[in-house]
């Protein structure tokens, strides 16, 4: 593989890593949203501390 091909291969791999970032962010958002829903909907019911 010549330098140009290696460069393009590495660039492509790194771009893929970067492209995944927004998907990972959405995943973290989803987990956070799920935690909020669990807190507000389920935990309030499960742990009835009488508040």
């Amino acid at each position: 593989m010549n330098d140009q091909e290696t460069y393009l291969k590495e660039l492509n791999e790194d771009m893929q890593v970067e492209k995944k970032l927004w998907k990972k962010e959405i995943l973290v958002f989803s987990v956070l949203t799920a935690l909020v829903v669990v807190r507000e909907v389920y935990l309030n019911e499960w742990f009835n501390f009488g508040v």
Partner: protein, 496 residues
């Protein structure tokens, strides 16, 4: 009237405590945009002639593997030269260099100072003076003697220099000590948040707070434009270089896929010395560039609100934490229900930021996260973690501490409840004190074993805050600027 004015001031104090959390969340929210806005599109297949400058003072333990890792890089050998700038080492560095120069003739060079001990910046300048006087170098890689480069790291950094607007590029430095222990795991996780995450956010915002001193690649033009030398007036020469690069109108870029490995301190005392130097350097920079802050006329990006917020949220974090504690504790006596509401609000925000930052960091660098996930979870400390969990479950704090009673004033509280609440209100400050205590007892032979549990309880984050606080004191006292060299033993390994 007087009381309500005081209440407002105390509420403001608590809100100030939220600033570091909000800034942290802001940076992490930006990272997703790096998928769409990054510098990769402006790169090209580019191999400038690179002079690699390695300042070294008694680094014989690590130099062998460093030189081997550099020579093992997939960078054209005819286009790289390694200069070991020996700061009058008294160990076997000269002998090792004789051997390496013979083995890699034309690639490895030994520049020796006969009088040393002035620190990294002076040593680097000695080397830069010599190397810059020859026209051969098109770029300069400034690094630390213990840093090991992955095979493609320099190639990946150099591709950004194809863009003529780029002045300097930095790599992602990872903690590479093997076997890993608690302290190195904390640093491992910290570097995901502070480099892989935060510096990507800074790429988005078109500024860079600091090019990592262990791996920064400069174009010849940039090095000449910043004066052809490294700043020696402060303890944070790498941050000065970063600022000067950008103030001269050139870009400073972080490449999170160019990976290098470094050996970091494995005990609290070593970390304290290293970070105290960094924190004092940052204070010196803050003072020197006082005209830059919030001054977008001076520089569109470094003078932006975003940069000032990020910079000062770290620099002033101990003050924010202390003010938040004072605010909550004062409101406890002035207006207890309000203090309780603010306390819960503060910790709910903490829950959100903690989950977001920790989880996202694990996903940004899953390889490092596999080694440091426990450190990531206990990063804020066990007590803070307990408050985070208790805050997450609705009504639990009221149930456990207030026994579900409505208290209009602190006077109706049980003594135990009162003590617990005040402790939690003050914990933001006390955690720094506890972290300092962990540092102190680490030096006491028969109490040394307590140091790690104490660090776990107080947290690594508060330890960094305590160091920053120490830097205020050192700067106020005008303490001598001493270059405390971090001890390197050569236990770093490239892990991929």
């Amino acid at each position: 009237m007087m009381t309500s004015a005081l209440n407002i001031v105390m509420v403001c104090f608590v809100f100030l405590g939220c600033i570091p959390l909000i800034v942290s969340l802001y940076q992490f929210l930006l990272i997703g945009l790096h998928s769409f806005k990054n510098h990769y599109r402006l790169t090209g297949c580019h191999f400038p002639r690179v002079s690699i400058l390695v300042p070294a003072w008694n680094e014989v333990n690590v130099l062998d593997s460093t030189i081997e890792s550099l020579m093992d890089m997939s960078y054209p050998k005819g286009r790289m030269r390694i200069y070991i700038i020996d700061d009058a080492s008294t160990d076997a560095t000269p002998e090792l260099m004789q051997e390496k120069m013979k083995k890699y003739a034309g690639n490895v060079f030994h520049i020796r100072r006969h009088k040393g001990g002035e620190g990294k910046a002076h040593t680097l300048n000695h080397g830069i003076n010599e190397v810059l006087s020859e026209p051969w170098s098109e770029a300069f890689l400034i690094m630390d003697a213990d840093v090991l480069f992955e095979k493609n790291a320099l190639r990946k950094m150099a591709r950004h220099l194809k863009d003529p607007e780029v002045g300097a590029v930095t790599a992602y430095i990872k903690e590479g000590s093997r076997p890993g222990i608690l302290m190195t795991s904390f640093i491992d996780f910290e570097y995901i948040t502070a480099q892989a995450a935060s510096r990507r956010a800074q790429n988005i915002l078109a500024f860079m707070a600091c090019l990592a001193g262990g791996a920064q690649l400069h174009t010849r033009e940039n090095l000449l434009a910043i004066g052809g030398r490294i700043d020696t007036s402060s303890l944070a020469e790498d941050t000065f270089t970063t600022f000067k690069t950008q103030l001269n109108g050139r870009k400073a870029i972080f490449d999170g896929n160019a990976i290098v490995w470094a050996e970091e301190p494995d005990n609290i005392d070593g970390l304290w010395k290293q970070r105290l130097r960094w924190a004092r350097g940052n204070l010196q920079i803050t003072k020197q560039y006082s005209h830059l802050w919030l001054n977008s006329k001076m520089h569109a990006h470094l003078g932006s609100v975003s940069f000032s917020f990020i910079w000062f949220s770290i620099l002033l974090m101990p003050i924010f934490m202390i003010l938040a504690s004072i605010g909550l504790a004062s409101l406890f006596f002035l207006d207890f229900p309000l203090s309780w509401q603010l306390f819960k609000m503060f910790w709910i925000l903490n829950v959100v930021v903690y989950v977001f930052v920790t989880l996202f960091s694990f996903l940004i660098d899953p390889v490092s996260a596999r080694q440091s996930w426990v450190a990531g979870i206990v990063f804020p400390g066990l007590i803070s973690l307990c408050i985070i969990v208790l805050s997450y479950i609705p009504g639990l704090l009221e149930f456990l501490i207030l026994e579900n009673k409505k208290h209009q004033t602190w006077k109706t509280l049980e003594l135990t409840s009162m003590m617990i609440i005040l402790f939690m209100y003050l914990w933001l400050s006390l955690s720094m004190l506890a972290a300092y205590g962990a540092k102190v007892i680490e030096k006491i032979r028969f109490l040394k074993w307590l140091s790690k549990p104490m660090l776990l309880i107080s947290g690594y984050g508060p330890l960094l805050c305590a160091i920053t606080f120490n830097s205020y004191i050192s700067e106020l006292r005008g303490k001598e600027m001493k270059w405390d060299k971090t001890e390197k033993t050569g236990k770093v390994q490239i892990k991929s």
